[in-house]
Symmetry: C2
Subunit: 334 residues, 2 copies
């Protein structure tokens, strides 16, 4: 089913509001999901909606929750989301941080008990457009094995970095796993093998079977360095948010448990360090124009691809798999 | 030549003091170099001393410089090092930051015009031992090509993260290049080939010739993700420090130019987010005990290897290559 962004947005908002999600919260949650579709990240798009609705039905997500925000220090905001919707608490925390960032030059928000915050690029892009540097990191269920290890001990622990420039912001959004678990499932569904090195099976053996990898663990990206970075995120998020570490994390991939991972936001005002936006843009232009490995594929900057996809998908429409579309129709009819 | 740490430290301090480096500054600079040797990172050890001495002789490094520190915001310290020694200004900035971190929960220092700050683990380890989370990042001369590109457009842009736990701190210290340029030079010196994928030659062609790679560019670690991270560091450091970006950076690898890269320090007080040190340690112990890929190589945590090497090298002594030792003797006799 090919949908226009507006059409899909309307469906998502209706489904959320029918479960008692306040209008503004429904708009924010739907906007996050549609934005993921537009940027070409359907794994974080509308396919997340049925699970979220089930979580609301089971009171694992409380769409009307008011987050408890405490400034434990003038530049440190501790947030108990109280089972609130991820994007709603994230935007509320960012709004709450702005005065502190303006006053102190930077601030941190450490969030616990929030539902899935989805695609991190959503937040750092918006913050960078408003002139601030943003670093957002999040933890998850244990899906990734340590470098040199074979058990799922770490989350996919994504980190996103947004940096204002004189034109479009720099937007990096990476998981610290080599591939998303969704990609493994996708291969398993089609009966396709996975490259050796992506994952180990449940017994810890390197495998090319996507099916076997589903009960195993994914490799970290970048060998020891990527493992180290993912582990640093695991520890910093837990230390500052008071959230659980991967082996004990639940609630972003299931419909049974409250979400107990953590979400961290660091904002820095580049104006505190001098205005370099024009120099950054000039450098990025030189980078894009530098000699590519393949003459047909120019060097790109993180965020470029998502913007190109958004321009195209915004016109062509969002491709919703038929099974998912039928699920959404059934949920509307229910 | 096998040296005890004390012996090598004394040589380094003597050589520095004879060039007018104040006693405390000489001790700090020497301690950084010896600590790199002890942690098994000789590329950042005593072999850096002759170049630093030459830079002092040529007034590219001013060992008596007083950094100009300005709190542009209550939690943002802007530092002009005025050609000071890297480790001296780093420790001065960290000392200056402590009261702000205690008061606000976090602070940033953005340093420009400092000489090479050396091994980043030195700083984050010390800060983590004092109970704070530390993130340190630095830029450098252009040595790394973009993912999908072939020209040296990025620095090796290392990042280090230190996190206090209930026992030894977590200490990650990684360059965002796949390998250090020193490793390419090492292979070239021995006439050994390098694996395909490490580097491209001066014409941008993937090469196995270490000699050809010296005039080319090193790959980023972790393909597109590592490239994105290195680029984020390039931009954040320049934006906040007011320093140059890689193609214009000089002065950490030569004896002709003032150093114009940037160094960034972010400190966060984990006490602002609740005390989780014991939980972090318990998790790291489970991680170390998790099933390894090779039964003879247990899973390790960043910082473990450096501590093991330090314990061993502290007893066995530091191996100084004869040519370097003779250089040091000649400098002493001069």
């Amino acid at each position: 089913m090919m949908c226009s962004p507006d059409q899909l947005m309307a469906v998502a908002i209706r489904l959320l509001e029918r479960r008692g999600v306040p209008a503004e919260a429904a708009r924010i949650q739907a906007d996050l999901l549609i934005e993921a579709e537009l940027r070409g990240l359907p794994s974080h798009g509308i396919q997340r909606l049925p699970r979220l609705l089930a979580r609301i039905d089971r009171r694992l997500a409380d769409p009307a929750a008011r987050a408890m925000m405490t400034w434990t220090r003038p530049a440190f905001l501790s947030v108990d989301s109280r089972r609130g919707l991820g994007p709603v608490v994230m935007l509320a925390a960012i709004a709450e941080m702005r005065a502190s960032v303006a006053a102190h030059g930077m601030a941190t928000a450490a969030i616990r008990n929030a539902n899935h915050i989805g695609m991190l690029a959503y937040y750092v892009d918006a913050v960078a457009r408003s002139g601030l540097i943003a670093i957002v990191a999040s933890t998850s269920e244990a899906l990734v094995h340590p470098f040199g290890g074979t058990e799922p001990m770490l989350g996919t622990n994504p980190v996103a970095i947004g940096i204002p420039t004189a034109d479009e912001p720099f937007v990096l959004d990476i998981a610290t796993s080599l591939v998303p678990m969704g990609k493994i499932h996708h291969h398993a569904l089609r009966g396709e093998p996975i490259p050796l090195g992506w994952a180990v099976d449940g017994d810890g053996r390197p495998t090319t079977s996507a099916q076997a990898a589903k009960s195993g663990a994914i490799a970290p990206f970048g060998d020891a360095k990527g493992y180290g970075l993912g582990l640093a995120i695991e520890l910093i998020v837990a230390a500052l948010c008071g959230s659980e570490m991967a082996p004990a994390v639940r609630g972003t991939l299931d419909e049974e448990h409250p979400a107990n991972k953590g979400d961290l936001i660091i904002l820095i005002d580049p104006a505190a360090g001098g205005d370099r936006a024009a120099a950054l843009s000039a450098y990025l232009q030189k980078l894009r124009a530098s000699r590519p490995l393949d003459p047909d594929r120019p060097v790109s900057v993180p965020g470029d691809g998502a913007r190109r996809r958004k321009a195209r998908i915004g016109i062509e429409g969002i491709e919703v798999p038929d099974a998912l579309w039928n699920d959404l129709l059934a949920l509307e009819a229910a």
